[in-house]
Amino acid sequence: MDISRELRERFGPAIVAEQETRDGIPTLWVAQDRFRQVLAYLKSGTDRPYAMLYDLTAIDERARTQRKGQPAADFTVVYHLLSFTRNHDVRVKVALAGAYPVTASITDLWPAANWYEREVWDMFGITFEGHPHLARILMPSTWEGHPLRKEHPARGTEMGPFRLPVEKQEREEEALLFHPEEWGLERHGEDTDFVFLNLGPQHPGTHGLLRIVLQLDGEVILDAVPDIGYHHRGAEKMAERQTWHTFIPYTDRIDYLGGVLNNLPYVLAVETLAGIEVPDRVKVIRVMMAELFRIASHLVWYGTFAQDVGQLTPVFLMFTDRERLFDIVEAITGGRMHPSWFRIGGVAQDLPRGWDGLVRDFLDYLPPRLKEYDKLVMGNPIFKARTQGIGAYTLEEAVEWGVTGPGLRACGLEWDFRKKRPYSGYEGFEFEVPTAQRGDCYDRAVVRVEEMRQSLRIIEQCLDNMPAGQYKADHPLTTPPRKERTMHDIETLIAHFLGVSWGPVIPAGEAFFGIEASKGNTGYYLISDGGIHAYRARIRAPSFPHIQMVPEISRGLMVPDLIAILGSVDFVLADVDR
């Protein structure tokens, strides 16, 4: 039965309204006093349940003009659930009134809600009652205001000059001290004193600005408290002032190893809002570039993971391979790590002459290298001893904590958006979805290594079957618009002029688009108020839940295991903090 009908029948008036969205995900407004029952029912009451809390975010509705059919609200909390058995999503919205509203926490339903609710509190000032420790997560604890509220300034020039007098500096430094009591951690055991080790934010094993405070008994980790936000740049806030088009370069820098893999969900979401259908050539070019970047990202992971367990050589070999790959990316896009090359309704340019030769060379080059790495890394007995059985979680735990991507497939679930919800023409490609069974560090590695091979297969198919045609859709909202006819009629000229100077005006509506990125599922939930920029852009980043889970799987292990776990999770701090 259709989930919205099922909920209406069961909860009756608690389902306040059903909202029409461009992405077709059933979006139900639920009364504030009943939403916990609805979510609990969705999680475990209904048959084929919505087991994963895929995303949790909020919208500041106070400045929104086009809300036809939606209940009155100052703020909306959005719960996005995913069902693996149905291959279906549902979105539950709760309307809140007041400037600093209070609502109930769902951390008892999903432990993964913990960080998400902290983020919403941090960004919007919405209090969640029943949350175990509602502290700021992305902003510094001394920050004043909640950045994603509409009244919070978005530019430095709106904020008054920055000053750092000594007292303020001391206050800031004081605020960074870790107080175990706040996190419910004991300082002393029965017959031991625990060591609190501050790992990071500057640490060679954390791959960026991640701070983890470890509660240690000797070298055994009793508990860990990750502290994120050091890489927070307010990408979601920036989306509210950049035009739809000029936000594309910001997406590249979310998962900075994924390049165009970040552009893809964004432009797909905008295209869903705008109703743009892109030509086949665009689809195949996008798939090819996305898979090239998947390999690039996995190569970096491969090398650094080996480095994390103390192997010095692989990282150099894999970065060398990545350089070869970047040569292709450079020839096609002109950029390397952050090409910002996808456009609303197409890609920036057509493929250059000779691209096929470069890609062909790479397809011949990489497989023997991968075979060598199997012997060098995956087959190494010390590597196995360091990673097998370390940092394992079960499929249930993975679903509970919102794990997606290779980390989920390493638990035996064959779940890949490219197969389950094909986008951008993936249905036309032949490839397999690698899985593994034990869900430990080694199995996550096995999955990724095999994914590189499958990506090569996809790229080869792109190469053999590249369709002819346009590299941009023939649609007025395509940005920048096609120029051929601009000098022939005034309408096209005006559309082109506005499209280039303002950027496109995307019709009001909401759309989410999630893709299988290299680290997991990356999704963009865009809300247009009929303007030239997003009213709200939510970035569902895979690394955020993955890092939240790290303490769960590292308890009882040792410091070196934590480093191995961090390596095997394959996160990017920019992706965690956005």
């Binding site: 060679p204 103390g310 060398t320 360091r386 070196p560 295991d561």
Partner: protein, 335 residues
């Protein structure tokens, strides 16, 4: 007192050996960077002089001219002393290693060793163990949690591996019938002990890797986990001292392996009519080979986890070393 034989010759030998060792340690850093680079599709240092040959000098100059920082929260005296202890211990170790036969130089009979003492092997073990004090004290006095963890690891590692080192050497002593290193080399006139003690050699090699804190047993340092382990708080020349101590220790330890298991300066088979100084060249070549092994291992394999490594040492290596000792003893007693 014969001033020439008892004072000047030993003094000159000591000075020459120390200088050569220092240079060797310094150039070991260059060698490792070069060799590692070749493993890793890189060039390695190639800016300072041809093939980057002046790189160690440039590094030394840089380290010396760096600002001397002693953090506020450290135990100052021990903090400054610790790198010196490590460094001194390494230099002293080499004193008992013979690097050539007795030769006629400038009309004098000169033994190519600094000290020829009857309990050379014991001396070796004792001084080598002393070197770990430098690491433990440095880590402890730094008053930093990473340093402390590194120091604790170093202490645990030292206790486990000294034991295995000692037992694997006992088998050698049984065969050679002497603790004097010169006599152990003489014993290997026909065949190097590697042939008689293959198992002992392997055990010794692993133990000496652990002893010199080298990959895959560089656990007191472990960049990925402990930032820099025991030397996290060190900078400038003090850091350089630790660094050069580590690399000189590699050279010295290689010399020990060569002396005890690879026949020292002797040719492996029965070629004896070569110039005695050729033996020194051979000794050097063997040392370089063992040093290459060090780098080769470092470039190839990952690091083991600390507790697994301890388990490996106590539950596997130690019994194995005992078995080797008993087997050797049985052979010596009954054959």
């Amino acid at each position: 007192m014969d001033w020439v034989a008892d004072f000047w010759i030993p003094l000159i030998k000591a000075v020459v050996v120390v200088l050569v060792l220092l240079l060797g340690g310094a150039y070991m850093t260059w060698g490792e960077r070069k060799i590692c680079a070749r493993f890793q599709v890189r060039y390695g240092p190639n800016r300072a002089g041809p093939f980057g040959i002046l790189q160690p000098l440039a590094d030394a100059v840089k380290a010396i001219f760096k600002e001397e920082i002693v953090p506020n929260h450290v135990d100052k005296i021990i903090y400054v002393m610790a790198p010196g202890i490590s460094f001194a211990a390494v230099l002293i170790t080499f004193a008992v290693i013979p690097f050539g036969p007795e030769v006629d130089l400038f009309g004098q009979r000169v033994g190519l060793w600094v000290g020829d003492i009857e309990v050379g092997l014991l001396f070796l073990l004792a001084i080598a163990a002393l070197g770990s004090y430098g690491i433990v004290l440095g880590g402890w006095s730094s008053n930093n949690k990473y340093s402390l963890l590194g120091a604790l690891r170093a202490a645990a590692q030292m206790i486990s591996y000294e034991l295995i080192l000692g037992i694997s050497l006992l088998a050698v002593v049984l065969l050679a019938g002497s603790l004097n290193l010169r006599e152990i080399v003489d014993f290997q006139g026909t065949w190097p002990l590697l042939v008689l003690q293959p198992l002992g050699f392997l055990i010794f090699l692993i133990a000496i890797l652990a002893e010199s804190n080298r990959s895959p047993f560089d656990l007191p340092e472990t960049e990925n986990e402990l930032v820099s382990g025991f030397m996290t708080e060190y900078g400038g020349i003090k850091f350089a001292l630790y660094f050069i101590a580590e690399y000189t220790a590699m050279v010295v330890n290689s010399a020990i392996v060569v002396t005890i298991f690879l026949g020292g300066w002797k040719w492996p088979a029965l070629i004896s009519d070569l110039h005695p100084l050729a033996g020194v060249g051979l000794f050097l070549a063997k040392v370089l080979f063992v040093l290459f092994l060090y780098v080769w291992i470092r470039a190839s394999i990952p690091r083991v986890r600390f507790d697994k490594f301890m388990r490996f040492s106590w539950k596997f290596m130690l019994p194995l070393a005992f078995v080797n000792l008993l087997a050797t003893a049985a052979v010596v007693a009954f054959l």
